[in-house]
């Protein structure tokens, strides 16, 4: 006799009208995916809730947290974690991987060019003003030759999937994108909490991220060092991403240093150890350009190290990512990335962009103002999902305010059509409901580019919301890239 069927998590699940990452209407059948779907259907919801609760307690005790400081105390918070995984098939992954590698190659070529001969500007492929007038364009980088011509050693591209299931790039992140620690920790958590769900399913491992990072950063070390000394430079324990810095240093097996641990003497960088000063060759820095070197940038910075840029210019130390990569992940420059790919690589972009209107151009401005109610308007300089106005969801007053802001400073805005982000079944208040997700794969570049087979799936936990940023109520999911099926 069969036990009575309890309520399954997917019994009442309805993702219409969006593309669902688990159901995949209209796409080719995938037997591994089918198997996972069936296992999920047979889980009972009470079990799911209980394991989700345990998982969150575990995250808290392990200190996989970010810290919120009040005047009296420090409060640790976990990033909400959803136990229902997001799945990517082997075929999809292979396209994504090639697309990411292509994009990173093109952006590194672009950075080399604009900090040397500026051919792309002379050829008129991208407006000079957008590049040279960009706040993140750093004159100090002119003529500096980073090893392997690599500027963006660590890159995270934000991808979304539209109603038809087609992937497109929403944003490039070339300045220390964060989140990779959650990719790995989420997987380890799932392996402990759901061994039954994962048994026999061939999922690509994400555990060797630290090892690969170490290998790639060694490739870009100054030529004289055959056994380079690598450190991770963090703003310190009070930074909200401190856990990630700990994770990266630990996985690479390198010291996590703060600005006060480093010193520059004779244009060489050293760290202060018990036995005295020891040389440093590569710095994976998680401090923004502005705070990196008080000699060159923000003079008030207590976080950085005076003289880093001098040492970097002499080629005595490699900074990862290089200074001045922000100009390549700018939201307005983004619109030109397909052209940048064609220009440097003579290839068609593998991953398409979202159609983008640059309000700094007359056409872009008039189109944006005429279609404000249908578009998503983004400030160029912001990140973290701040300042975004979603036309179809905004009130008349909000639209009016947005219009005034654009008119006052058009160069500060872009607009894009609203994408109906794909959804994933997500456990919310004891029920499984569709929630919108995005995907950030991580690429590491030394001599060449390696992409971690996985990525950070961020999920907007608020019903109907398409803003997945953790600062705006977003959570994360484990991302399973399935292995190629052997026939």
């Amino acid at each position: 006799m069969h036990p009575p069927k309890l309520s399954g998590p997917l019994d009442d699940y309805n993702h219409a009208p969006f593309f669902c990452e688990l159901m995949r209407d209209g796409l080719q059948r995938d037997s591994a995916l089918e198997q996972i779907r069936n296992r999920l259907r047979n889980l009972d919801i009470a079990t799911l809730v209980a394991r989700a609760t345990d998982a969150e307690i575990e995250l808290f005790n392990q200190g996989i947290t970010f810290t919120v400081y009040s005047d009296k105390d420090a409060i640790d918070r976990i990033l909400p974690f959803d136990v229902l995984p997001r799945i990517i098939t082997a075929k999809e992954w292979s396209t994504l991987e090639n697309g990411v590698i292509q994009r990173v190659r093109a952006l590194n070529s672009f950075l080399w060019d604009i900090y040397h001969d500026q051919k792309i500007l002379r050829d008129g492929v991208i407006p000079k003003r957008l590049v040279l007038g960009n706040a993140n364009f750093r004159d100090e980088m002119q003529g500096l030759n980073p090893p392997c011509k690599t500027y963006m050693h660590i890159n995270g591209i934000d991808l979304v999937r539209d109603r038809k299931g087609e992937f497109c790039v929403l944003e490039d992140n070339g300045r220390s994108p964060s989140g990779v620690s959650y990719v790995v920790e989420n997987r380890h958590l799932m392996q402990r909490a759901f061994p039954d769900l994962m048994r026999g399913v061939k999922i690509r491992s994400v555990s060797n991220y630290g090892e690969m990072l170490m290998a790639k950063l060694s490739e870009v070390a100054p030529p004289r060092s055959d056994n380079p000394s690598i450190v991770l430079l963090s703003p310190g324990v009070y930074n909200s991403a401190y856990f990630e810095h700990v994770f990266l240093a630990r996985e690479m097996g390198v010291p996590l240093v703060e600005g006060r641990d480093l010193v520059v003497e004779d244009d060489h960088v050293f760290m202060r150890t018990l036995a005295g000063l020891e040389p440093v060759d590569v710095i994976y820095r998680r401090i923004n350009d502005d705070f990196l070197d008080p000699e060159v940038f923000n003079k008030e910075s207590m976080l950085g190290v005076a003289g880093l840029m001098r040492a970097s210019h002499k080629g005595h130390v490699t900074l990862a990512n290089a200074v001045g990569t922000g100009v390549a992940d700018d939201k307005a420059v983004y619109a030109y990335v397909p052209a940048i790919i064609r220009y440097y690589l003579s290839e068609e972009p593998i991953l398409r962009n979202v159609e983008t209107h640059i309000c700094g151009t007359p056409d872009g401005l008039s189109y944006t103002l005429d279609h404000l109610g249908e578009l998503v308007v983004k400030p160029v300089g912001e990140s973290g999902g701040y300042g975004i106005v979603i036309g179809p969801k905004a009130s008349a007053a909000e639209l009016e305010q947005c219009r005034r802001q654009i008119e006052a400073n058009p160069g500060n805005f872009i607009s894009q059509p609203m994408i109906d982000l794909s959804v994933c079944p997500t456990l919310v208040d004891g029920k499984v409901e569709p929630r919108h997700v995005d995907l950030r794969p991580y690429a590491i570049t030394g001599r060449d580019t390696w992409v971690l087979p996985g990525g950070l799936t961020r999920v907007a936990l608020k019903r109907g919301s398409i803003i997945v940023n953790s600062s705006q109520g977003g959570g994360t999911k484990d991302t399973w890239v399935l292995e190629e099926e052997t026939t």
């Binding site: 392990q62 991770l232 010291p255 240093v257 703060e258 760290m271 150890t273 018990l274 036995a275």
Partner: protein, 325 residues
């Protein structure tokens, strides 16, 4: 590659703060558990005097009732000497070390700290206090145990042990000063109070050992001598100083850190002081002076390490060492 100097400093203070929290919980627990004669309406002013906190305490509390003193030393985040403050400081040091210490150490401390954070007034009530104190002691002991069984035996381990032993010597010295603090706040108190000296032994986890080794009742001279110079009791000041010497010698011989010499000289001089005090027939009468000398010596030892290794100059006070006063 040698150890990042800041990591050595964090390990040193991690151990100190853990030991400090444990000792304080131990003193409070034994006084609660074995001092029933002194009911809870009796003043606990001696604990305030012992830590020289009179001024700070008076600015925050109306009187030295048991309840107030307990709150001040267990839960008050405004008191740098409270268990709450001390555990937070231990955890902050561990947080700075997370990339280098085994995750077992961090996770144990983090769980322990998160459990401690939710203690309420009810946990400080005499009915529950003993249990609360023993939970704190267990948490601290577990951290030392996890460190002992997982922490790499490099320079960092020596600095961890140096912190532990300096703090432990300091705490034992303070314990030997409790009588002095009590006499100061209550003149009718008697030096030769056998109940009291048993209590001191229990606070130093030495009650059974003392009876086994000495085979007689807790006479003040013998107890003081035991806690000062016994070579084998892990909380005697002599034992702690010898461990300190041992660690300093290893840093010099195994890791070629020759800057240990000033600390080596100082620890040798301190052992000398200890031996002299132990031979003094007026040991108990002069105990407060001896304790004073020991505590100042330990402070100077900490400054030696800060100057030689942590990058602090002779005059500049290490930010964290300010809270040792």
């Amino acid at each position: 590659m040698s150890l990042l100097a800041r990591y050595a400093e964090n390990l040193f203070w991690l151990a100190r703060y853990i030991e400090r929290a444990s000792s304080l919980a131990g003193i409070i627990e034994t006084h609660m558990a074995y001092d029933r004669a002194r009911a809870e309406d009796v003043s606990w002013a001696w604990l305030v005097t012992l830590h020289s906190d009179q001024e700070k305490f008076a600015s925050l509390y109306a009187d030295t009732s048991f309840k107030n003193v307990l709150k001040f030393y267990m839960a008050d985040i405004n008191n740098p000497g409270s268990v709450r403050f001390t555990l937070r400081a231990a955890r902050e040091n561990a947080r700075a070390l997370r990339a280098t210490i085994p995750s077992e150490m961090w996770v144990q401390l983090n769980e322990f700290y998160n459990r401690f954070l939710v203690i309420s007034d009810a946990d400080l009530d005499p009915i529950r206090l003993s249990r609360t104190c023993s939970q704190i002691k267990h948490g601290c002991c577990a951290q030392l145990g996890v460190a002992d069984s997982t922490l790499y035996r490099g320079e960092g381990w020596r600095f961890f042990l140096l912190g532990l032993m300096i703090e432990r010597a300091d705490q034992t010295s303070r314990l030997l000063d409790v009588k002095f603090a009590q006499l100061k706040t209550n003149a009718t108190n008697q030096v030769a109070d056998a109940v009291f000296w048993s209590l001191i032994l229990r606070s130093a986890a030495a009650y059974q050992t003392y009876h086994r080794i000495e085979q007689r009742g807790p006479d003040p001279n013998r107890v003081a001598r035991f806690l000062l110079v016994n070579p084998h009791h892990p909380r005697s000041i002599n034992y702690c100083l010898r461990q300190i010497q041992f660690m300093l010698n290893e840093l010099c011989s195994d890791f070629q850190l020759l800057q240990v010499s000033s600390a080596q000289t100082r620890s040798m001089a301190m052992i000398e002081i200890l031996q002299q005090a132990a031979g003094d027939q007026y040991l108990v009468a002069n105990l407060h002076g001896t304790n004073d000398e020991i505590q100042r010596g330990l402070m100077a030892l900490t400054n030696d390490l800060a100057t030689s290794f942590f990058g602090y100059s002779e005059t500049a006070q290490a930010s964290q060492s300010q809270s040792q006063a």
